[in-house]
């Protein structure tokens, strides 16, 4: 007689309370979730939905007593985890339940070697001898496909790449064949090609081990790639759950529908008629090398080439996307064309005037024609200034009447769909998306011809991201702006850019109309990038919602 084994994890009406003064009394309210052996369940939600606290609750690692489980059951292999002593939980942690974290750079101790950190799990949970432990660690490094496991064993985390660090993290969490693996946004910090490799690896090892996986993510592309089942969280409440196919293609709940509707489809904008609009920004033969760290007398300063021989042109009313992975030089490009970084060679012509050759005085005058929108709106707005002053500052510096500049600032707030009442508040009083709107208004205040946007939506949740992208496209069309749009996210590039430049190691490997590059990539690197987009085979159903 076979008895069905209990599910690996069974959450029943899980309730986590937040401290007084939080935006809501409960981080999670009555969450039901079941994970069987050999199953990958994705817990999806935007920031603040409570998904990471759910992981903390299962591990018994909530920041108690401020945040604690106040109701429901957490059953692991049929056994209730609530009320277990700390010593009992320590035995489970790392051995039967393990965790993979988001940021592999910070999740590993910088002062200990990779080998030591894997070894620690074995030392804590087994009575293996030193030699056995080392053999086991090397075997695990081999299994996560790290080249030369024995040299990686002795390396410090900073000596290996980001993708390899995440492989180490995975090796560490799987070394004792846990029954439950909790992966908290394990690929969010990685480049798209690395992300795909890591997702495949998690899938591969999970199938070999037959473990249950709780996979926490905000990215529906990743969900489409890896999940068997999906649960969608909205402000601590489970709004929808089911098989991946059902949730992704036939979402029922309005929130899920809005979220999925906001995922940029991989269909580029229609090709505009060959533009004969004037060229507003033209970069020619741009080159930038960074001198590596090292003293005068050490005699070994190795230069790093960030951008070599880059040429591009941007026409009026057009959006040119610069896409590439980390280290491709795309951010350097955005800094060079705004002359926030001095370049070694080449010219950047803004309406026929070479920006790079301008004297400091000329440059100050030119700056108002080219403005930047930065990635992190929180870090790029002075926290001690009111919104109206942040926006009016640029025009005032350029000689506008302060009173009029402040009036204009209020109008700009309306333009970016914020209430004029926001003018007298401080940046921290806004949400991420609202702050990015302020950042855009700040750039627009100078009435620029060109806006250079460096990853402007990367820090935002998907629904907010869609709104900000829509706003940018709207403003571009209404004000006949030209956009230089730097991004790592090919979905975003597909949605907004007329033409794109694909960069690798400081060079353009391919450029052309977005639609053509996406439909028929020529360079192997572009092909690789496009085939690594998570969930590329899944086209978000077209849902008619007004949330996006």
């Amino acid at each position: 007689m076979t008895q069905t084994p209990p599910p690996v994890l069974d959450l029943c009406k899980l309730e986590i309370s937040l401290p007084k003064g939080a935006d809501r009394p409960y981080a999670l309210e009555g969450l039901d979730l079941t994970i069987n052996a050999g199953e990958i369940v994705c817990l999806v939600g935007e920031s603040g939905s409570g998904k990471s606290l759910c992981a903390g609750a299962i591990m018994g690692l909530l920041p108690e007593p401020h945040v604690r489980v106040t109701g429901g059951a957490i059953r692991f292999m049929g056994e209730e985890l609530r009320g277990k002593s700390d010593a009992e939980m320590r035995k489970l942690r790392g051995a039967d339940i393990s965790m993979i974290f988001q940021e592999p750079m910070t999740a590993l101790n910088p002062q200990k070697t990779v080998g030591w950190q894997i070894d620690e799990v074995l030392r804590l949970h087994t009575k293996m001898t030193k030699a056995e432990r080392k053999a086991r660690a090397l075997e695990m490094l081999e299994r996560v496909h790290i080249p030369e496991p024995s040299s990686a064993y002795n390396a410090y985390p900073h000596q290996i790449s980001g993708g390899q660090r995440q492989r180490v993290m995975i090796a560490m969490s799987l070394v004792l064949s846990p029954k439950l693996i909790i992966a908290d946004e394990p690929t969010t910090a990685l480049d798209v090609t690395t992300q795909l490799q890591i997702l495949k690896l998690i899938r591969e090892l999970q199938e070999e081990e037959g473990a249950g996986v709780l996979f926490i993510t905000h990215d529906f592309g990743v969900v489409a790639e890896i999940a068997d089942k999906v649960a969608v969280l909205c402000r601590g409440e489970l709004v929808e759950s089911g098989t991946t196919d059902a949730v992704l293609n036939r979402p029922q709940h309005p929130y899920t529908r809005a979220l999925i509707g906001a995922v940029p489809a991989l269909t580029p904008p229609p090709v505009k008629a060959a533009s004969d609009a004037p060229v507003v920004l033209q970069g020619t033969g741009l080159k930038k090398t960074f001198a590596a760290r090292g003293g005068l007398l050490s005699g070994k300063r190795k230069a790093v080439t960030a951008v070599k021989d880059l040429t591009f042109e941007l026409r009026q009313g057009e959006t040119l996307g610069v896409v590439g992975e980390s280290g491709s030089g795309k951010t350097t490009v955005s800094r060079i064309v705004t002359r926030l970084l001095e370049c070694d060679h080449g010219s950047v012509e803004l309406d026929g005037t070479d920006l790079l050759a301008a004297t400091p005085k000329e440059l100050r005058a030119l700056r108002q024609h080219i403005q930047m929108v930065f990635q992190d709106p929180m870090a790029s707005l002075n926290p001690r200034k009111r919104v109206v002053d942040l926006i009016a500052q640029g025009p005032i510096v350029h000689g506008a009447d302060p009173k009029k500049a402040r009036e204009d600032a209020k109008r700009l707030l309306e333009l970016v769909e914020l209430s004029p009442a926001a003018a007298n508040r401080f940046p921290h009083e806004f949400s991420g998306g609202q702050r990015q709107r302020i950042g855009i208004a700040r750039a627009l205040a100078m009435e620029p011809k060109v806006i250079v946007a460096d990853e402007p939506v990367s820090a935002l949740d998907v629904s907010v991201q869609a709104q900000v992208l829509k706003l940018l496209a709207d403003l571009r069309d209404r004000l006949n702006l030209s956009l230089l749009f730097v991004t790592h996210d090919l979905r975003v590039a597909a949605q907004l850019c007329d033409r794109i430049i694909v960069m690798q190691k400081g060079e353009i490997v391919e450029s052309g109309l977005t639609a053509e590059v996406f439909a028929n990539p020529q360079h192997p690197y572009t092909q690789n990038l496009l085939s690594s987009i998570p969930g590329r085979d899944w086209t978000p159903p077209s849902l008619h919602t007004d949330a996006a």
């Binding site: 591990m59 690692l61 320590r90 035995k91 489970l92 942690r93 790392g94 051995a95 393990s98 965790m99 974290f101 940021e103 910070t106 999740a107 590993l108 101790n109 910088p110 002062q111 200990k112 620690e120 799990v121 804590l124 949970h125 410090y156 900073h158 993290m169 560490m172 760290r293 090292g294 003293g295 007398l297 050490s298 005699g299 070994k300």
Partner: protein
């Protein structure tokens, strides 16, 4: 370069070369500053003698080379210094080098003892306070730290003296050894230690407070980092987190401070040595200023500059040893 040396040696050599202009600049700067101050050796000598006639004073000045333009004096001094000739002390009637060497040991002992006590006690107390943050223990430690921090060392010195020497009579009131006792062997060591207890305490408490506060903040910061959470998720207990994951990372900023503060401890030793009449460099510096003993003063400053440079070099080595991310280059 065809020469192949271990990286550590190349590094040390490079640091040495970098240190030379630093020391030269310090010496030139000090020389000029001291010349700006009113009065010179001759004034002090004549003052002690109760006055003398102008011709005698002029003769003395010429003898000591003090009648020359300041640039000539500076040049002569620097040339002699290049061969480690510190000149003659007219106050002690000895070569300056001899005077300095007599005093160096005492100051080094005082500083080494004060700094090691301050550093060790500071990081231990700081770590304890951080792990029990906002508890009664933490409050007690933090308040004590604040009290130490706010107490000037001269006041503390006098209070210690009053209590332990005058009232209780447990410890000697000053000096480095009991005069005319002629102890040998361990008796001598114990005698010196007894003389050093109060000066060391007075000098170390304020620095202890520095390290304590920095270590507390540092441990609290590191304890919140992702890799500590990772270790916890591996099933490590709290004690292990502290010893294996937090301590070494939290120590880094404290070690930086240790190197930076060495020079201020040298400054602090002037006050403490003077109060406890310890025959060290600090006390010598004070007396040399009063007596306008320019050569001795310059010698002390040269020695201190060297000590600070060496200590900073050692700190950097220690830092590189502690932080695997730093490579000496």
């Amino acid at each position: 370069m065809t020469l192949h040396m271990p990286p550590i040696l190349t590094y040390a050599l490079r640091r040495l070369v970098q240190a030379i202009p630093v020391v030269i600049l310090i010496m030139i700067g000090t020389f000029l500053l001291l010349k700006l101050a009113p009065g010179d050796t001759v004034d002090a000598l004549v003052g002690d003698m109760g006055g003398a006639d102008a011709a005698f004073i002029a003769r003395l000045r010429a003898e000591y080379g003090l009648d020359q333009p300041i640039w000539v004096q500076l040049w002569r001094y620097m040339v002699k210094l290049a061969s480690f000739d510190f000149g003659w002390s007219f106050v002690y009637e000895q070569p300056v080098a001899t005077v300095l060497m007599d005093r160096l040991g005492t100051t080094l002992m005082l500083m080494a003892a004060s700094l090691s006590i301050a550093f060790c006690a500071g990081i231990v107390l700081g770590a304890i306070a951080a792990r029990r943050a906002y508890s009664a223990t933490d409050n007690l430690i933090s308040v004590l730290g604040l009290v130490f921090y706010a107490t000037p060392s001269f006041f503390l010195s006098l209070m210690l003296m009053l209590v332990f020497s005058v009232k209780l009579g447990w410890l000697p009131v000053g000096g480095i050894k009991t005069i005319a006792a002629f102890y040998t062997g361990w008796d001598h060591v114990w005698d010196v230690v007894r003389h050093l207890i109060m000066p060391t305490t007075a000098l170390s408490l304020i620095y202890l407070a520095f390290y304590l506060r920095l270590m507390r903040a540092s441990v609290m910061e590191v304890a919140d980092l992702d890799y500590v959470r990772t270790a916890r998720a591996k099933g490590a207990r709290e004690g292990r987190l502290m010893t294996h994951h937090i301590m070494r990372n939290a120590l880094l900023p404290v070690v930086t401070l240790l190197g930076l503060q060495f020079s201020t401890v040298l400054g602090g030793s002037i006050v403490v040595e003077t109060i406890f009449t310890l025959p060290g460099l600090g006390q010598l510096a004070y007396q040399s200023v009063v007596q306008r003993d320019m050569n001795t003063l310059m010698g002390i400053i040269f020695l201190c500059a060297i000590i600070v440079v060496v200590v900073n070099f050692l700190t950097d080595l220690l830092y590189a040893r502690l932080d695997s991310r730093i490579e000496l280059a």
